[in-house]
Structure formats: C-alpha cells, structure tokens
C-alpha cells in the first residue's frame, strides 16, 4: 500500500502526451517555496477550509478524540489531539474539512489511471509518479510502475533524486521509461539553505543515470529571489552538457497556487507575496541556457 494525496487525470504538464499524475505523500526536502505543502508530511493530514463551514456540527459528533468541539465562538479544533483519522471529513459535505492523504493499493490506482489508457496510446503519454517525493515510498512505487508496464502503459517519475542510487533508484530502473529530475540550485550551500538537502548525490545520480542511457528531463523551478538569475541557471546548464541522455532542460516558472493550502494547514508561507517571473525574464534565463547548446523549454 502507498500513501497518496491525489490522482490527477488529463495532465498535460507532467511529461510527454496526455498523462495521469499520481501524487505521493511525504518528502525528504523542505523547499521553502513548495506549492504542494500538503505533500510534505508522510502522514495523512486534515485540511481545513473555514469559509466553507455551514456550522452543522456533524464533525463534533463524529470525532472520536474530542478534537472538535462547539463553543459560543463557533467550532474549535485541537490539533494536538487530532489523529487525522478522517472521521470528521467523512461527514463534512460542505468541503470545509478534507483529509489529505490515504492508503491506496496498486489495484486501486490502476483502476483509476487505466481508464485513460486510450488517451496515452494516441498521444504517446502515460502515467507519471510525482509528489511529494516518489522515492520516499520506493517499494510501492516499484510495484505500481511494474504493474503499469505489464499493462503496456508508459511510465515516468518526477523526483528530487536525492536518494541512494543502488538501494532506491536501481530497482525502479527497469520499470521507468522517463525520469524527470529537479535541480533546484547548483551551489551546494544555497541548495542546503533553501531545501534542507545536499545536492551532491543528485548530481552524481544524474551522471549515473546518463551513463546507463536512461532518458531524463531536468527541470528547475525558478523562484523569485532564490534562483532567478543567470548566475544560478547557467551553472546548471553547463553541468547538463555532460548528461548525454538529457532530452531537454525545462525552466518552470514559480507557481503561487499553493497559498490556500498553506492556509488550510495553518503553515507559514515564506513566499505568500511572490509572483511568477515576467515572461520576458524567464525567456531570458532560458536563452542563457540555450546559449550553451541545450534544448530548453519554459513551462
């Protein structure tokens, strides 16, 4: 079983063709601009959208730990005692409470994504595993990828790639058609500061993947004030010159759509006021990378 947050069908931005994207829950990095904050924790979490509450009180009755109660000021919530069992969300039909993350079996995922197999076949698409971080649940990922390949579905993984190659990445290689790997920052210290993780193994893993001839797309989310300068992008592009199996390099503009998720989790959002880069600016960064002879896309 794997813990997933969502399965998104008719996904056009997660690899070639028409795809379904399976979002894994849990991530080993803590990128401060993450636009999927609900996927950071490996455990299920309760998302709360107070403005949708109709005050019916059904959640109070349903909660087995007394974490929800009625007071003269309205509904109250005790996060400390909440086990995120989902009993309250199960009776909340207004959409004010939503359980993020639950266990899925491989068959359950297949039941959903195989409904779109004709679209994958017509378009050269398939299924992309994303997150969160897929490699946090390598056994489930491996079972799922294998099951998809056995059913003739093309597969891809979006990953930060900061995992041991032999133990984690190696077993997935036979079942993965395309790797989409993030290099968020090239400078090791800056990478550590902004994401909490080391990038040395990411770069080394990419070299090893290329040596095996496995197709890879490398992507950089361009974040205002973090890596939105040529000085950050060009070294990544220069490194990619040695990745022989690179299909293309993609710059992903900052995505501000995670703001409401931070609110629903009552999490601090360092990038609340940040906005995507102007089109001209991100194109200028892409041109700087193209000048090194790479094929570069802007997403």
């Amino acid at each position: 079983m794997g813990i997933l947050t969502n399965i998104q069908r008719f996904s056009l931005n997660d690899g070639p063709g028409i795809r379904s994207t399976v979002f894994f829950k849990g991530c080993n990095l803590r990128c401060r601009w993450c636009h999927n904050p609900e996927t950071l924790s490996a455990r299920p979490q309760l998302l709360r959208y107070g403005q949708k509450c109709i005050g019916c009180g059904a959640c109070v009755t349903a909660c087995p730990t007394g974490s929800r109660s009625l007071s003269p000021e309205g509904l109250r919530y005790e996060e400390k005692t909440c086990t995120a069992c989902g009993a309250c969300a199960d009776v909340c039909f207004s959409g004010a409470l939503e359980l993020c993350g639950r266990e899925y079996s491989v068959d359950e995922v297949l039941g959903e994504v195989l409904q779109d197999k004709p679209y994958y076949e017509h378009s050269g698409g398939g299924v992309t595993l994303s997150g969160g971080e897929v490699l946090m649940q390598p056994a489930f990922a491996c079972q799922l990828l294998r099951a998809l390949k056995e059913r003739g579905v093309s597969t891809a993984i979006e990953t930060n790639f900061s995992f041991p190659f032999e133990e984690v990445i190696g077993p997935l290689l036979p079942w993965t058609d395309l790797w989409m790997v993030d290099i968020k920052l090239f400078d090791a210290q800056a990478h550590k500061r902004w994401t909490g993780g080391d990038n040395a193994c990411i770069l080394e893993n990419l070299r090893r993947l290329a040596a095996l001839g496995k197709p890879v797309i490398v992507r950089t989310p361009v974040i205002p004030g973090v890596n939105d300068a040529e000085a950050e992008i060009v070294p990544i592009a220069a490194f990619l010159k040695e990745i022989g199996s690179l299909q293309y390099y993609e710059l992903l503009n900052f995505n501000p759509l995670g703001a409401s998720k931070y609110d629903s989790l009552e999490m601090n959002n360092d990038f609340r006021d940040a906005r995507p880069l102007p089109k001209e600016r991100i194109e200028a960064l892409a041109d700087a990378a193209r000048a090194l002879g790479l094929q570069v896309k802007v997403g």
Binding site: N6, I7, Q8, R9, F10, L12, G17, I18, I54, C56, A58, F93, S94, G95, G111, E112, Q115, D116, P118, Y119, H122, S123, G124, G125
Partner: protein, 731 residues
C-alpha cells in the same frame, strides 16, 4: 440598418485583409445595435442586422384570428416580405444585402404565432404537460437542403423546374403556386438589390469600392435568373438562399462547404480569373453574411478523405474574418492530421468557438444501424446546432423535440413515495422506465401529429426548393416530399437523473446515512427544513456522473440504454418513419429545469438541469476532461444523432506546438471511443467575469453557448449566468 456608402476616404487603398478588418468593425457596430432587441437574444449570431427604424411589415391574414397558415398564407406573405424588404448595400462587402427579421418571429411579435388553431392536439396536451415534453409540433426547418440543386439551376432554373413538374402533377396546384411565388419573391429582392447597388454607385467615390460595386451589380443582375458561373456568383447565390430562407423561417442549415464550392474555385483559378486572396475574401464575406453551419473535411461517399487545399483556404478565410463562425471539421482516423492541427491552432488563436469537431466513425456506424448504407451515412453532414442531415433527402425535426427525463424521474419518485410498496433504487428505476416509455411514446405521437398537419400550418417553401422529391412529387418535405423521415428525439437531463439515482443508492442503500422518508421530506421542502441544507450537501457530494467508473456513471449508461431502446421501439408506430435518439438540451437547460421540483442530486426547485450530455459542474475534483469524455462516449445512443461533449478550455492549454498536438490527440481519442460531436470554448475565467460585469465593453466576445455560437453581449442575464457558471467551474 446603418449607411455604409461613401463612408471611407476617396484615396484609401483597400487590400482584402483591410476590407475584412473594416467589415469586422462594422459587424461589431451591428451587434451593438442588436443588443436589447428581444428576437436576437439567446440565439445564434445569425449575421442579421436591425431593420430601418421606419420599416414595418404588415402580414396578410388568411385566417379569422389575423394570422396566416398553409401554402397560400405563407407564400403570399413571403412574396410581400421579399418585395418590400429593405436593401442593405456595403461597398466593402463582396456580397449584397443582409437579412433582418423572419416570418416566424414576426408572427410572434404580432401576436399571431402558434399552431393553426383549426388543427387541435388537445388529446396530446396532458402527456406534454405531465412529462414536460418539448413536442416539436409546429417547429420548422431543422433539416438540411442540397445546395447543389440550386447552384446548378439558379432561381430561373428553379422556376422552370416548378413549371415542368406542375404540368406532370395535376392536383398539386396549391403547392406549385406557392413555390413559384416563393421563387419570384426572392428574385424581386435581388432586383431591388440591383437597384440599390446602382444607387450606391451614384454616391460612392472610392475607386476600389466603385469597382467592387460594379462587379457586385453584374453578379446580381445575372443571378436573378442565371445559375452561378464563378466562385463569387456561387457565394452570392448561397447568400441569397440563406438570407431568404432565414427570412422565411430562420433555417440555418448549411452544407459541405469545401466540396460544394471547390469546383468553382478550381475552375476560376485554372482560367486565371481568381487569386487566392480574392477567394479568401469571398469566403470570409460569405461567412460574415450569415454563420450558417458548414462542414469541412470528412469522407466522400466512396470513403476518401475530402480535405483539399480549398478546405485549408476556408479555414484561412475564417481566420481573416476572426468572428463568429459555425464551421465543423469532420474527424476520422485516416484524415489529414495537418488539417486537424491547423483547425486546433485557429480554435486557440481566435477563441471564437470555431471550428467544432464531429466524429465520422460513430456518426456513420450509428446511422448504418438504422438500415442505411455507408455511402449514405458519410453524406450525413453537420449542418445544425448539434445535428447532422442528409442534404435534401431527409426530414428530421432535429433539435426541436426533447423529453425532460428529470421530470420523468420526479414523476416516478413521487409515485413510489406515495405508494406502500418497496422503496429502493431498483423499484424506482422500474417506475422511471414505465414513465419514460409513456413519455417517449407520447413524444413520438406528437411528431406524427406534426407530420400529418404541419403542411396546413407552415409548409417548408424554401427548403423544398433544394430538396430531392418535393418539386418532383408536388409534396412538401413534411408531407411526403422527403425521401426519408428520421425523426429526432433528444433526451435531456441524463447527468441530473444519473446523479439522483447514484445519490439515493450511495446515501440510503449503501451507507444507510439517510432514510427514504427523510430524503423525500427534504425534497418536498426544497431542502429548507431543519437539517435540509446538510442533507442537500450530502446528496450533492455523492458519486457523480463523469466521476470515472463509479455508480453514477453506471446509472448514466443504464439510463441511456433504456432511453435508446424506447425511442428505437417507436419505429413500429408508422411505416416509413424512424425515430433517432440523442442527448441534447440545447440552451433549454433553464426552461426544462423550471418544470421540475427539487431532485436527489441536491438540485433545488426549478434549478437548471445539466447541459446536453455533460456532467454537472464540480463532477470531479480534478475536473478531468478524460473522465467526463469517457462517460459521454459511453452514453452515446449510437444511431447517428449526437450527444455532444461541451468543453471550456483555458487558452494556455495549447500555448505551444506540443500543447496543440496534445489537444489533437485528445480529439482523435474521443472520436475513436465513440464521441459524436465536440464543442469547445477557449476562454479564460477573468475575461468572462469582466464581460459579465459589463457586456457592452465586450461586443466582440463570442462564446459557444451549446451547439451554437453567440455574441456574449446578446445573451440575456439568465443565459450569461449559465455560460459564466460553466466556465468558472471548469477553470
């Protein structure tokens, strides 16, 4: 009607694209003039303009109630209308005149509309009322003519043909007299237009426009009698037929435009009398004159791809025009992929709702199930809002007849709750099927009544002229003149009904969260009782049609199979009359909803039903088009009529070549899965919100409302809300 003569500087150079820019601006002015005129609201763009303020048409009654009916009434009034019709000449336009009002509307405006009161259908009214049937009795046009007949004969040749067959068919004088008067009426309008062009030539000073007017005059003088000889004459002839047919009864069916006009185009090119740019200009002006429904591409009767260089030219002309068009590209797996790609590029570039796409495989194979050969099925082209027609061969009442399946559901539910028997979704479905059968049979009998009586109410004097049979037999299309009678019966509300069944199954039977009695009490109180809103939210949060492989989708398939069987069974009612099922609401979602009280899908009293075969908005958290498309493909009745897919897509989806390819692949996949028709709006939520706040600031914003495109500013607030809600939820 605005003056457009001698309005431009004398020395202004006017290349063709510049002329189209001016014509587009003038169209926006005309659209502003139409805003607020009731007859232009909530319908196709049509290309009509407002008449002069002092223009009044006074009908000639032939009935004691002041109205007019039958051959005599319609032909005399039409001749009068044509003879008196205002002439609108724009020297920038390649073609003369515009239409302004139709006789069907004028009857309503004068309080003399409705079916001939001497022909009572009171015996059918109880069922119409009980099940909320849109009966089609008295509906007009809504089948396609064969333009080739008119293009080969011209109006003079049509007159000769009428005279010839009048002699061969004694006893049909009333028919032939009416048809001859009809053709003479159109000729009178063309003669008046020639006079109008002569007058314009006295005033116009720009040499380029004078040259255009001289050519326009020569073209129209010839077309009074003669058959078209060039692309320009063929387009002008089509304009005349379209405008006259609109004035008669709003007929909007077009033709396979590329194949119809290709011989003229190729001949003119070969003899050096036409340039590519001239051809584009003529086609753009034809599309401007009236956005009739035209098909491009598809298969010839022999099974060959019909896409030609001229098909591309028509797309390019529509791109020059960059306005409302009703072009349909017929998709098949062996088609020229570059043509599909070009179509998708223009769809996203211009964001005017054109082209839409129809699926050859499901349409042809479906029609063949009704006993027709493949050669005929391939000729059944997209020439209506959601419908196909065999040009000049069949009478259909397409898009005129609807069963209100949600009303049927509510009747069944009320019956079950009022009785002492078992309460279950299975029993409810049995009751639903019982009432659906009664509803469908009543609907079929309404259609038979229409076929028996419509000729005494409103004959099809214009479309008869370009059909195979009426002139030859002396019989109206509705009255035995047609070769085939394939009568359309569209179901509506499939998602509303499927969601209702699924909600009951999930919440009452599977989860046991609710009792039948509690649910029904809330329904009867419109969810306004204590706890009613919680119950409404619970019901509406149940598994939904379009959700992908769930119980609501299964109900949708079951409902469609049941409806399809019932409609097909009506073929036994009368020899020679077949009934073809489809799922389409048109923009009747509001009116049909107003006939139904609250339902278990969480819908409150009198709220709209779902649109066509689409799910209700919010059907799935990720809004996946594939999940929605899959169920619409599976509920297709499969007999040659449609259950369209209606999409609202963000402009960013096809921002680059890869995005265009993906949309093309999506289109090819759904048509391989059995889809019949795909309508797409390319629009962003912010623009539609701003336009809704102030429609007058967006006079050129075109949206595809259902099968038809309309200027947003010409929609009433109720219809605007329908479009806005759909687009916002999709985004």
């Amino acid at each position: 009607m605005r003056n457009r003569i001698n309005c431009l500087p004398k020395d202004l150079a006017l290349p063709y694209q510049e002329r189209l820019r001016i014509l587009r601006e003038r169209k926006i002015e005309d659209t502003k003039d139409k805003a607020g005129v009731r007859s232009f609201a909530d319908g196709d763009d049509y290309g009509a303009i407002t008449p002069p303020k002092d223009y009044v048409f006074k009908p000639i009654p032939n009935h004691r109630n002041g109205s007019f009916y039958g051959f005599e009434g319609w032909s005399q009034n039409f001749f009068k209308l044509m003879s008196e019709h205002p002439v609108h000449i724009d020297p920038v336009d390649a073609f003369a005149c515009r239409w302004m009002n139709c006789m069907s509307w004028m009857r309503q405006q004068n309080g003399i509309g409705g079916f001939n009161p001497d022909l009572s259908y009171d015996h059918l009214k109880p069922a119409i009322e009980k099940y909320g049937i849109v009966s089609g009795i008295g509906s007009d046009a809504h089948f396609g003519g064969d333009y080739n007949i008119g293009l080969q004969l011209g109006f003079g040749g049509l007159l000769d043909k009428l005279v010839k067959y009048r002699l061969e068919n004694p006893g049909h004088d009333e028919f032939y007299d009416a048809e001859i008067l009809t053709v003479m009426g159109v000729q009178a309008w063309i003669r008046n237009a020639c006079y109008g062009i002569e007058q314009a030539l006295l005033q116009e000073e720009n040499p380029a426009l004078r040259e255009n007017l001289e050519q326009m005059l020569e073209c129209n003088r010839w077309l009074i009698e003669g058959a078209p000889r060039s692309l320009r004459e063929a387009c002008q002839w089509i304009c005349w037929f379209n405008m006259a047919s609109r004035e008669y009864n709003r007929d909007g069916a077009g033709c396979q435009l590329d194949e119809t006009l290709r011989p003229y185009y190729e001949r003119d090119l070969a003899n050096g009398s036409l340039t590519q740019d001239e051809a584009k200009y003529y086609i753009a002006c034809l599309l401007l004159n009236d956005p009739h429904y035209y098909q491009l591409g598809g298969l010839s009767p022999e099974g060959k791809d019909m896409v030609s260089p001229f098909s591309y030219l028509i797309l390019e002309a529509a791109d020059w025009l960059d306005s409302s068009c009703n072009l349909t590209v017929r998709v098949h797996q062996g088609m020229d992929k570059a043509f599909l790609k070009k179509s998708v590029e223009y769809l996203f570039k211009n964001k005017n709702g054109w082209p839409r796409f129809s699926g050859d495989k499901a349409l042809s194979e479906g029609f063949m199930r009704k006993g027709y050969p493949a050669e005929l099925a391939r000729q059944r082209v997209a020439v209506g809002c959601h419908w196909m027609s065999l040009p000049g061969l069949e009478y259909t009442l397409n898009d005129c007849v609807k069963t209100n399946n949600l009303k049927v559901f509510r009747v069944a539910l009320d019956e079950m709750m009022a009785s002492d028997g078992e309460r279950s979704t299975e029993r409810l479905f049995a009751l639903y099927e019982k009432h659906q059968r009664l509803c469908v049979e009543a609907t079929a009998r309404c259609i038979l009544f229409h076929l028996d009586n419509q000729v005494k109410n409103e004959p099809e004097l214009m479309l008869n002229l370009i059909s195979h049979g009426p002139v030859e037999k002396g019989l109206d299309m509705v009255d035995g003149g047609a070769m085939y009678y394939n009568m359309c019966i569209d179901g509506t509300g499939i998602a509303s009904v499927a969601d209702s069944f699924a909600a009951l199954q999930q919440r009452i039977e599977q989860e046991k969260r609710l009792s039948w009695e509690t649910m029904y009490e809330s329904l009867c109180q419109n969810f306004e009782n204590e706890g009613g809103e919680y119950i409404r939210r619970m019901l509406s949060a149940s598994n939904r049609y379009g959700g992908g492989g769930g119980i609501a989708d299964a109900w949708g398939e079951r409902i469609s199979k049941s409806f399809t069987r019932d409609v097909n069974d009506m073929d036994t009612l009368r020899k020679g009359v077949k009934f073809i099922p489809g799922w389409f609401s048109w923009s009747n979602t509001i009116a049909l909803g107003k006939a139904v009280k609250a339902t278990p899908n969480g819908r409150k009293d009198f709220e709209p039903i779902n649109h066509g075969a689409n799910p209700h908005p919010g059907f799935r958290k990720d809004g996946a088009l594939t999940a929605m498309s899959n169920i619409i493909c599976r509920i297709q009745p499969g007999y040659g009529n449609t259950a369209p897919i209606q999409l609202e897509l963000d402009p960013g989806m096809a921002r680059d070549e890869e995005g265009v390819e993906k949309i093309c692949d999506y289109i090819l996949t759904i048509f391989d899965l059995g889809a019949t028709l795909l309508n797409i709006n390319i629009i962003n939520a912010q623009q539609i919100l701003a336009a809704n706040e102030n429609p007058d600031l967006y006079p050129d914003l075109v949206v595809r409302v259902t099968g038809f495109t309309a200027y947003f500013c010409l929609l009433t607030p109720e219809f605007r809300k329908l479009v806005v809600d759909r687009i916002l939820l999709a985004s």
